[in-house]
């Protein structure tokens, strides 16, 4: 034992050299980590700069309030913006109660058996299914079988399916983070399970649930592939007035403009991307704000 100990202690010189080497590799790792972070930031910055220099001057009231046109100067994205908002609203109405309901069931009610584990496994898998597959499902199920046609509601239902797994996973995380002491406190006061969930768990988890939902909705607003599959149209020059109207959305309008030969439409597409980014960033900052408020209220 003593022999091993003497062998393990290096001479001061060796130790110093090894310390220098370890320090150096420490700095190297730090540098690599910083470069990795910067890489993403610089790319994002370059992208935003490029889009905004080209697109920002396109965005004005005229651009937001006019319908698309073959004459670039007259073109706007009113119908696409309204279509996106309609779709988003119905997606939220459908996906939020279903998603949160499923999360509450899985966390608070479901017994721990093979069926529950099977459901959980499938939800986790569904979150990784490519969006185009949801588009095909929506086309078969809502457009053709339910015979809804290529309308806002069919788009919303497809999008709701797409983001349900995200909402369920986020809501479950939020519900699981609520400490058991709160649940036990509720029971101790004589609450039923439903009262405990409604008055203790949900208010505590609300911040996380809302954040997850809003981020999922932000994903829905940027999706193009499933909507092209279910047949959201490329040229719509009227306002969609309800869930059963045919429609188009921002990403499809942008895609349409990019694929036109005239350069002016490419600038319009950049303007469309700016509008889409603003909608997305608004949604994300709303999520951050809600989480902040909920957390503060809890404390």
């Amino acid at each position: 034992m003593s022999a091993r100990a003497t062998a393990a202690v290096p001479s001061p010189d060796v130790w110093r050299a090894s310390q220098a080497r370890r320090r150096w590799s420490g700095w190297l790792f730090y540098g690599l980590a910083v470069v990795s972070t910067m890489m993403g930031l610089v790319m994002l910055g370059a992208l935003l700069f490029d889009i905004f220099t080209d697109g920002a001057r396109q965005v004005d009231w005229h651009f937001l309030s006019n319908y698309p046109s073959r004459i670039a100067d007259n073109a706007g994205l009113r119908s696409a913006l309204l279509g996106s908002l309609w779709m988003l609203a119905f997606t939220a109405i459908i996906a939020f109660p279903l998603g949160v309901g499923a999360a509450i069931y899985l966390e608070e009610y479901a017994p721990d058996n093979w069926l529950t584990r099977f459901i959980q496994l499938n939800i986790a898998n569904l979150a990784g299914v490519p969006s185009i597959v949801y588009g095909l499902l929506g086309l078969g199920l809502f457009v053709r079988w339910l015979a809804l046609g290529r309308v806002v509601l069919a788009g919303s239902m497809t999008m709701a399916l797409l983001i349900l797994p995200l909402i369920i996973v986020a809501s479950r995380e939020a519900i699981r983070a609520v400490p058991d002491s709160l649940r036990e406190g509720s029971y101790a006061l004589g609450a039923t399970r439903w009262q405990m969930v409604r008055q203790t768990v949900l208010p505590s988890a609300a911040g996380g649930i809302l954040t997850g939902t809003i981020l999922a909705l932000a994903r829905a607003i940027g999706e193009t592939a499933p909507l092209i599959t279910i047949g959201a149209l490329t040229y719509v020059a009227f306002d969609p007035n309800g869930p059963l109207d045919i429609f188009t959305v921002l990403p499809i309008q942008i895609f349409n403009w990019v694929s036109l030969p005239q350069k002016e439409f490419h600038s319009l597409a950049a303007g469309g991307i700016v509008v889409l980014l603003v909608v997305l960033l608004t949604a994300n900052s709303l999520a951050v704000y809600l989480r902040y408020r909920m957390q503060r209220r809890l404390q």
């Binding site: 319908y67 698309p68 046109s69 073959r70 004459i71 100067d73 007259n74 047949g231 149209l233 490329t234 040229y235 719509v236 020059a237 009227f238 045919i246 188009t248 349409n256 990019v258 694929s259 036109l260 030969p261 005239q262 350069k263 490419h266």
Partner: protein
């Protein structure tokens, strides 16, 4: 005093109520009428300066207004939805017509989808759409599908489209023209892995690598090009760079000295400063894809007639009748604005007659498109 009232007037005018402004002036200052008049005039000038409508915009609006031929519906006001889907080549024309139509008839909604000629016919024959955009004739398989569902169609030609063959600006070895034979040497299925250099295409050309760009295999343009050049629809070498987005092809060809590609003429015209279009020699000497050469059929074999198909069921509806009439009467002007070539004027009259008499069926037994616009239009005149 007058300074204050002027500011008030300006603010009020900003909210768009001149009447209130007048009242404010009267109430605020009991001064002479002269002052009030001067003030109002200043406001008028200010308002005009504030709006700053660009001159080009006004001119453009006036021009488009002037060229629109108005159409009166058969009986009373019309409303409803006319569903259009199909070819991405015809789509821009239908969108332009729909845009102008909806300006005149605000109660009619005309959404236009783009899902390719084949995709369009699939929906059309399932009675999901009223009008189908097509960059080729209907195929017999599609016709059978329509028959099964009891859908008749009225075939109407709307414009002529040319396909441009383009090379890089730096490509000075090819000269100004290429023959249809040489195009076949480049694009034939046998060329795959064999014809890799420009020296393989024509004797005496440099040993420069040949890079091919073309539309995706789902597009009508690809179908048409392969049929016209290689003799069989869909038959081509597989080792070329395909893209459904023609702008990608433009970028590809303009970025590589040895590149060659093909796509609709509208895309060449918008990018003429970075690309070089070749004259095509179909056997009668090299011809450049100009409007005139396409119209007269000299630019052969790479020009084609494009169509709309109207469902006989939909044609019973007054809004569809009005729309189709509007389409055929305004297509000659609108088609040119978006980079296509209008047909000779009499063809539009023949098409209008055909629609008025609800004559169904296709005019040719051609299973596709390998025919010059002239021969198609001749067949059409005879058939209509």
């Amino acid at each position: 005093m007058s300074a204050i009232s002027r500011r008030r007037v300006l603010r009020a005018a900003g909210f768009g109520s001149l009447a209130a402004a007048g009242a404010a002036v009267l109430a605020a200052c009991g001064e002479t009428q002269v002052v009030e008049k001067v003030v109002t005039q200043t406001v008028e000038v200010e308002k005009i300066v504030e709006k700053e409508v660009p001159v080009e915009k006004i001119v453009e609006k006036v021009v488009t207004k002037e060229v629109i031929v108005e159409v009166t519906p058969p009986a009373g006001p019309i409303s409803g939805t006319i569903l259009i889907d199909g070819s991405s080549t015809v789509g821009p024309i239908s969108q332009a017509v729909a845009e102008e139509f909806q300006k005149q008839f605000g109660d009619v909604r005309v959404p236009v989808g783009i899902s390719g000629t084949g995709g369009g016919f699939k929906k059309f024959c399932a009675e999901e759409t009223d009008v189908s955009d097509a960059s080729r004739f209907i195929k017999s398989s599609e016709q059978e599908l329509c028959d099964e569902n009891g859908i008749g169609y009225i075939e109407l030609p709307v414009a002529i489209d040319g396909i441009a063959v383009v090379v890089n600006k730096q490509n000075d070895w090819i000269g100004d023209s290429i023959t249809a034979e040489e195009l076949k040497t480049m694009w034939a299925p046998e060329a795959e892995g064999q014809v890799m250099n420009w020296s393989d295409v024509r004797q005496g050309l440099p040993d420069q690598p040949l890079l091919l760009y073309g539309p995706g295999t789902d597009s009508g343009t690809y179908d048409y090009f392969t049929k016209a050049i290689n003799g069989e629809e869909g038959a081509s070498r597989g080792d070329f760079t395909p893209s459904e987005d023609d702008n990608v092809l433009v970028q590809g060809v303009s970025g590589d000295a040895g590149a060659v590609g093909f796509f609709g003429l509208a895309y060449y015209e918008q990018n003429a400063e970075i690309l070089k279009a070749l004259q095509i020699d179909g056997g009668d000497g090299p011809v450049f894809p100009t409007t005139e050469n396409i119209l007269t059929g000299k630019y052969s074999p790479l020009s084609r007639v494009i169509f709309i198909y109207v469902s006989t069921v939909a044609a019973e509806r007054p809004e569809v009748q009005t729309f189709v009439e509007f389409y055929l009467k305004n297509a000659p002007n609108l088609v040119g604005q978006i980079g296509y070539v209008p047909m000779p004027a009499e063809m539009y009259d023949i098409a209008l007659e055909r629609f008025a008499s609800r004559k169904t069926g296709t005019v040719t037994a051609l299973e596709g498109v390998n025919a010059s616009p002239n021969s198609v239009l001749e067949a059409w005149k005879a058939g209509a």
